[in-house]
């Protein structure tokens, strides 16, 4: 999913040119009907009127977006003020996803670098070790994290038994727990693109810098980092995007105070109390933000590829 994939890969031959349409038809149909049409229908629903028992009435309305951005008082007849509740939930999601991304970068970069500088034959094994936990059920991983960190959990037991603390640290139901959960969920997405970039890096550049009396840290910051920047940016986006819309980590590790977009959306479709058009509108806003980010990323990658070749 790193660079190159964005353009669909390069190597292609035309052996099956004539049957191309038939080969691609199942994918086109399945994804158009089951992803593209649903997203379009969601856009339509976000402009409909809510029905009180869940579902919609087919009448055009801007109420969902209005409710998101404006507060018109209890009876809807006051002058509109900015409604901060939902903007704050979005802001918290951005902030939490950003913190999780920085945490992943702080640990993921050295890890990726370390793996990329191992002997060539042992690198796949390191990469494999990093990716295994990603393939374990996200729900199970998040529950495990909660089990480990809770007040009477093994982590606190350990700290108390070695005398580091007297009473358990309250980690679960804090912002930090959510960040840790998000970090845990998406870390491989940070490590893999950076690893790929460092592996391609020409280390004679670092040697040249060292010959010119640059210290190791100056070499890292001034020579290596600019060279692997596309990989770092790819990693940050790949962690940030899924973190922002995540549901399990904030729901299980964050508790009621640390509500994020995912939970806000989920609540609108649960039982009879929900508001489908509002949920659809919130989803549209989230998707738009993510697609803008991905677009910036794609352009940046295209530019990086141009300067490389």
């Amino acid at each position: 999913m790193a660079a190159g994939a964005a353009s669909g890969g390069s190597a292609t031959t035309d052996t099956y040119k004539e049957s191309r349409t038939w080969l691609l038809m199942p994918a086109w149909l399945t994804l158009s009907i089951l992803v593209l049409a649903p997203v379009s229908m969601m856009l339509v629903y976000s402009f409909l009127t809510k029905e009180f028992r869940g579902g919609v009435i087919w009448e055009f309305s801007l109420a969902a977006y209005d409710q998101f951005f404006f507060d018109r008082g209890l009876f809807g007849d006051e002058a509109p003020k900015i409604e901060w509740t939902y903007i704050l939930i979005f802001w918290r999601s951005i902030w939490q996803a950003g913190a999780a991304t920085l945490l992943s970068l702080a640990i993921g970069f050295p890890t990726a670098y370390f793996i990329a500088t191992r002997p060539e034959h042992s690198r796949p094994l390191w990469v494999f070790l990093i990716t295994i936990p990603y393939w374990v059920n996200l729900l199970i991983r998040t529950v495990s994290m909660k089990f480990l960190l809770r007040d009477q959990g093994p982590f606190n037991d350990l700290l108390i038994s070695i005398g580091l603390i007297d009473s358990p640290l309250h980690i679960v139901n804090t912002n930090f727990a959510v960040q840790l959960g998000l970090f845990y969920s998406y870390l491989p997405f940070m490590v893999l693109p950076i690893y790929a970039a460092v592996e391609r890096y020409n280390f004679s550049l670092s040697e040249a810098a060292a010959d010119l009396y640059a210290s190791k840290w100056v070499t890292l910051r001034r020579i290596l980092l600019p060279a692997v920047k596309p990989g770092v940016i790819a990693g940050c986006i790949l962690v940030f995007v899924p973190s922002m819309g995540s549901f399990l980590a904030p729901d299980l590790l964050g508790g009621a105070k640390n509500f994020m977009i995912g939970s806000l959306i989920e609540e609108q479709f649960k039982g009879n109390a929900g508001n489908w058009p509002f949920g659809a509108a919130a989803s549209m806003i989230l998707m738009t933000m993510v697609l803008i980010l991905l677009l910036i990323y794609a352009r940046q990658q295209a530019r990086a590829e141009k300067t490389e070749g």
Binding site: S7, T30, L34, L138, L139, S144, P242, F247
Partner: protein
């Protein structure tokens, strides 16, 4: 460990990076290891350790909640096998069209469509799919989960398959066709066998993604239909119980086993 000593003179290595890597692995594995250990706890409480036993594994299969878990596991595996099979078939055909189909105008658009499920946040896909089935009056149940999973799994199957196909030169197929093989024969007798490691990896990844999915399933499942993740989530909401840790450990084992197979399959071949 001579390498560790010469760190200061080795231009490539930075002090502390190795420790951070080990810390990283520790953070990744500690929760899983702890849950695995505690799943063997004989105690009724999750806090105190009272010796090792298979008590909670037995409880999963014969205890009061066993019927619920058995039907959830059955649903999960049937859906994962069918969805992964469909997604892999669709992805293999699509990869052939994309990688062996020459240049065409819709190529970039097709790639965008195939990777769409990876770009749209999962919760948005879930909401959109629920709304779609609702708007066409399709009753929610096992079928809706299956359809949603099939679409969502396509990119996961597609990526390893197309990566593999790009690594195979088309000279093998050309040689076969020079010897009067039809295109269909060149595809089934030459390309498909060469593609097998990629197809197996793709199938396994799609299978795991389907087996593990919670968010989409939670939205599109009908009342009363559960898969393992939704059943586990329902239980966990009332507190983590020891039997959940036993189920989690078994599911964790399945995932690790499948990924290891996929790793070994992709490593075993060197046709490049």
């Amino acid at each position: 460990m001579a390498a560790a000593k010469s760190t200061r003179f080795d231009i490539k290595s930075y002090r502390g990076f190795k420790s951070i890597t080990l810390l990283c692995l520790f953070i990744l594995y500690a929760p899983l290891v702890v849950v695995t250990i505690y799943s063997f706890n004989a105690s009724n409480s999750i806090t105190t350790w009272e010796g090792a036993s298979f008590h909670w594994y037995a409880d999963v299969f014969t205890g009061p909640e066993s019927e619920k878990f058995k039907s959830a596991a059955f649903n999960s595996f049937v859906i994962a096998i069918v969805a992964a099979t469909l997604a892999t078939t669709i992805a293999t055909l699509a990869a052939t069209g994309m990688v062996r189909g020459g240049k065409f105008r819709l190529r970039a658009l097709s790639f965008g469509l195939i990777s769409l499920p990876l770009m749209v946040p999962e919760i948005v896909t879930a909401v959109a799919t629920l709304i779609f089935f609702n708007s066409i009056g399709f009753d929610r149940g096992t079928m809706t989960i299956l359809l949603a999973h099939t679409a969502f799994c396509i990119p996961f199957a597609y990526l390893p398959i197309s990566a593999r196909m790009q690594g195979i030169e088309d000279s093998y197929e050309q040689a076969a066709m020079d010897l009067y093989a039809t295109k269909r024969q060149a595809f089934t007798k030459i390309l498909l066998p060469l593609m097998m490691p990629g197809i197996i990896s793709g199938f396994i990844l799609a299978f795991i993604v389907s087996l593990d999915d919670f968010i989409i399933t939670n939205f599109v499942k009908g009342a009363g239909v559960e898969t393992l993740p939704t059943a586990i989530f329902g239980s966990v909401k009332q507190g983590i119980k020891p039997n959940i840790m036993a189920i989690s450990t078994m599911l964790l084992g399945v995932s690790v086993l499948m990924v290891t197979i996929s790793y070994l399959v992709s490593k075993s071949d060197n046709t490049k």
